[in-house]
């Protein structure tokens, strides 16, 4: 269960950010922003090799005391950043991967919509629902 999920465009502006409602959203926005540097670093490190060989899942970008930030980048340099609660120890790497996979699939569906212009903010309800389902269920 993530506390914050963000989709960042290639030019590093956000296409979609959603945080668990009870949290201080600004903090998460900041964390996502700082994590972009780490993402870029990881991309460039692997960039020497062919893009194909680069894996989409970047893994843990950096941990903080309370949270862990995971990253995932698509072949079109669209980045997904997910912030999860550190106390949520049950989350394994595989689960994070599957969450990113779902995100990627939903993102692809959004892209397929002819009414969606790439680069617009993602306002798809279906995407939203999917993200909400992955969020921490905080009442």
């Amino acid at each position: 269960m993530a506390v914050c999920i963000a989709v960042i465009a290639k030019e590093n502006y956000p296409l979609y950010i959603r945080s668990a409602p009870t949290e201080n959203e600004l903090k998460f926005h900041y964390m996502v922003h700082t994590s972009l540097d780490v993402v870029d670093e990881k991309i460039s490190a692997m960039g020497k090799a062919l893009v194909d060989q680069r894996e989409l899942y970047l893994g843990l970008l950096y941990p903080t005391e309370d949270y862990k930030v995971y990253g995932y980048v698509t072949n079109s340099k669209v980045k997904f950043v997910m912030v999860v609660d550190s106390s949520n120890t049950a989350l394994r790497d595989n689960e994070i991967r599957s969450m990113f996979r779902k995100l990627h699939n939903s993102y692809t569906d959004v892209m397929c919509n002819p009414f969606y212009n790439p680069g617009d903010r993602i306002q798809s309800r279906a995407f939203d629902n999917m993200v909400m389902s992955m969020m921490v269920q905080v009442c």
Partner: protein, 774 residues
């Protein structure tokens, strides 16, 4: 304000009422005057009304926002039901009947209201306040000019309710029945077409009376004369009812319910024919959609690409966000293109939206694309089709592909293909035992005349080498047996050439995995072929490696191949002297049979061996062995380099095995050493391919084989046919087999020794080599 949970009926009803009260079309606030009128119509004491107003917060706010209004309505219902007015009671009181607002005329209305609430199905609960739902008659799809989106939509549901409520009513008369039915005083609906949103209350009162009038109106409107407001995507006005909102009994009440109180109620024109489901597409609508589809994509089974669809739907002037949502809902398979069904669903949603219905969160069942697209496109008549729609979602859900039909169709294909793939892999069926092998051997033997001697021999060796496993048949007690088996096998194959036939038989059996399913007809055949096949395979694998690639061959008992080698290796030395006789002839042939393919080589040797050791009837399918043996024999004789000696050893071992086996089998035979050879030869036989080429050689060796055979007790040719004889031969083979097994172990030992020698020699060679290169 506490969260207010409304049932579908309530939701609709409240929306309608709100629309009604929202004279100024603000969509946010209702005029107090209207509200008060409403409350008065609720026949509640004034103080209760005041209390309600306080509770809902209107007093505080000074106006009735939507939420306040809803809460107020709920409180009215609470009050009317006799429950104490509390804020909590809003949500706690379950199954609250809809608030009844009684106008002057009818008690029935209240009754209607009551029944209405009970009929939550009938969404008609749109208290007629709102103008006929869009579906009614003309749905105005595209024309923005039509403002009466919502009223229309709301009205529509009411009509549909009628069919539900009064089944006997046919859709067109729904308004009529609706009226009668306790449709809640949505009498307004009927009026609406005429009067517009204005006197909503009157409809209530006139629900009954209005019914007739309404009916007239309805009926007048029902038949959807193509009205101006029909979808005007800059297109010809389509059929009448765009949205036949059928207050559906079942579905999507939830979805439609949130009819925005777009009160611009003037959509009286809307006439919905039948409301079974607000999202159902009527025939006329569907026909219209199909026509529209054709304008974009003439092929009804084809797709509309996303870009074309985008342009088309953009004409409807809906906001992009909503169009995007509609797309998400309707593109069921998420492929970026719209099939006919998807297109109709999208179109329908657009129409609904234009008429004020809120877009559902998920696709209504009636709009889900059917699985079988073909049926759909053919099914213009909607009602059944729509019913089918509801059915289809179940099917559709699992798979999103528009080509569901193709999917369905592929399934049987898959099955078939799977059947094809069920090709039998060369079942190395280790054949059982000796019996079969025996039989085969005998058959083989009996089969061929001239090749008899060879064939059995060939067979034997192969069997020998291959099979330790094949104990039984290996036991060619005598050359006769072998011969018999051989001939019998030949007879099976009914090939002129024993060997060839045997080989073929075995080959077909073993090699071709696909053919495994149909091993050669005669029972014994498969067996022997099995055993043989293993040997065959070995040969074959070797052969394959060399050049023949036969499916399944390699797959065939891989274990077999090695066998001949080891068996051969130890063989040579001890048996060498014995084999020398026969070997000599063999050696003449290519001793250096390819190590990997001793088969080839072996054949020749096998033949020789077979000639010499025909007796052995090795059920062993190790062709390799058979082949190797002869080779080994030859090589042994040559006592050539270690490598070859190895092979020779192998062949020798085979031969030895054969001889060993044959020895016990043929006690009388002094040619013990010859015993093994026949086995390898026999095995050889298995390798059909080799047998073939080797036929000539075999024939050459025939003489030898014949000699061997002769030395061996003659195996009744009829064994193959005679069960007893077969069994006897089987027994003999078994005995031979055990002997051969022992021999095999000995040969193995010898093989190890020889291998060591070889290694040492190779080392020496390596040492010498550098000098040579220098």
């Amino acid at each position: 304000m506490e969260g207010l949970t409304l049932s579908d009926a309530e939701q609709k009803y409240y929306s309608d009422l709100f629309s009604y009260c929202d004279i100024e079309s603000t969509k946010k606030v209702v005029v107090n005057g209207r509200v008060l009128e409403l409350f008065r119509a609720a026949q509640l004491p004034n103080d209760v009304v005041r209390q309600i107003m306080e509770l809902c917060g209107a007093t505080r706010l000074g106006y009735f926002g939507r939420s306040q209004f809803y809460i107020a309505l709920k409180l009215v219902a609470v009050a009317q039901s006799g429950f104490p007015l509390r804020v909590e009671s809003i949500n706690t009181v379950k199954d609250l009947p809809l608030p009844r607002f009684v106008a002057s005329k009818n008690e029935q209305e209240s009754r209607h209201a009551a029944s209405y609430s009970s009929d939550s199905e009938n969404q008609g609960s749109y208290s007629g306040v709102i103008p006929p739902p869009p579906g009614r008659g003309q749905v105005k799809k595209g024309s923005i000019s039509h403002d009466t989106v919502q009223p229309r939509t709301t009205a529509d549901p009411q009509e549909p309710a009628s069919p539900v409520v009064s089944p006997q009513q046919s859709p067109p008369t729904s308004p009529h029945s609706w009226r009668k039915h306790n449709r809640h005083p949505s009498g307004g609906n009927s009026e609406r077409p005429l009067a517009g949103p204005g006197p909503f209350w009157s409809p209530f009162g006139e629900a009954q009376s209005g019914s007739s009038a309404g009916d007239a109106v309805w009926s007048g409107h029902s038949p959807p004369p193509p009205q101006e407001n029909w979808v005007s995507f800059a297109d010809t006005p389509p059929t009448s009812t765009l949205l036949t909102m059928h207050p559906a009994s079942v579905q999507d009440q939830t979805t439609v319910r949130t009819v925005a109180s777009a009160t611009t109620a003037n959509e009286i024109r809307r006439q919905s024919s039948s409301y079974d489901d607000p999202w159902k597409i009527t025939d006329e609508q569907r026909q219209y959609y199909v026509n529209q589809f054709k304008t974009i994509q003439p092929d009804l089974n084809g797709f509309i690409p996303g870009s074309a669809a985008k342009e088309f739907f953009t004409k409807s002037k809906l906001p992009i966000l909503e169009l995007s949502h509609i797309w998400e809902l309707s593109d069921f398979d998420k492929d970026g293109a719209l099939t006919l069904d998807e297109f109709c669903a999208a179109f329908h949603l657009v129409v609904a939206r234009k008429n004020g219905y809120d877009l559902p969160e998920k696709l209504p069942e009636s709009l889900m694309p059917k699985l079988i697209d073909l049926e759909d496109s053919a099914d213009v008549g909607d009602q059944p089709g729509e019913v089918g729609y509801s059915g289809s979602p179940a099917e559709a859900t699992p798979s999103k592909s528009p080509s569901m039909p193709s999917l369905n169709q592929t399934w049987p294909e898959l099955n078939q293909s799977s059947e094809d793939t069920a090709i039998v892999h060369p079942v190395p069926i280790r054949m059982t035992p000796s019996k079969i092998h025996m039989q085969e051997m005998e058959l083989k033997r009996t089969g061929s005349d001239h090749t008899n001697p060879t064939s059995p021999i060939l067979v034997k060796p192969s069997d020998l080498s291959e099979e330790n496993k094949i104990n039984s048949s290996v036991k060619f007690a005598s050359g006769n047996t072998v011969a018999d088996g051989y001939s019998s096998s030949d007879s099976f194959t009914s090939d002129p050439e024993q060997i060839g036939s045997n080989v073929t038989r075995q080959r077909s059996h073993s090699g071709t995995s696909p053919d495994n399913t149909a091993p050669p007809p005669p029972p014994p055949r498969p067996q022997p072929s099995h055993s043989r096949s293993s040997s065959l395979d070995m040969n074959r694998t070797f052969a394959v490696t060399t050049g023949q690639q036969q499916a399944g061959v390699v797959a065939h008992p891989p274990a077999v191949p090695p066998r001949p080698q080891p068996s051969q290796a130890p063989g040579p030395a001890p048996h060498r002297p014995v084999d020398a006789d026969g070997l000599i002839t063999h050696t003449s042939t290519s001793p250096q049979q390819i190590p990997e393919q001793p088969n080839f080589a072996d054949f020749s040797q096998f033949e020789v061996f077979a000639a010499s050791n025909v007796n052995e009837e090795q059920g062993d399918e190790a062709e390799k062995h058979a082949e190797v043996l002869p080779v080994s024999f030859q090589e042994v004789e040559k006592a050539s380099d270690p490598a070859s000696s190895l092979r020779v050893a192998k062949t020798d071992s085979k031969i030895e095995e054969k001889t060993a086996t044959s020895a016990p089998a043929n006690v009388s035979k002094g040619t013990t050493p010859l015993a093994p050879p026949p086995k390898p030869v026999r095995r050889r036989l298995k390798s059909e391919d080799e047998l073939r080429p080797e036929v000539d050689e075999h024939t050459q060796k025939t003489g030898v084989l014949a000699a061997v055979l002769a030395s061996q007790p003659s195996i009744p040719r009829s064994i193959g046919k005679d069960k007893k004889a077969i069994q006897a031969s089987i027994r003999r083979n078994k005995e031979t087999n055990t002997v051969l097994a022992r021999l095999n172990s000995e040969l193995q030992q010898q093989l190890k020794d020889v291998l060591e020698e070889r290694i040492s020699l190779e080392v020496q060679l390596e040492q010498l080599r550098p000098f040579s290169h220098l």
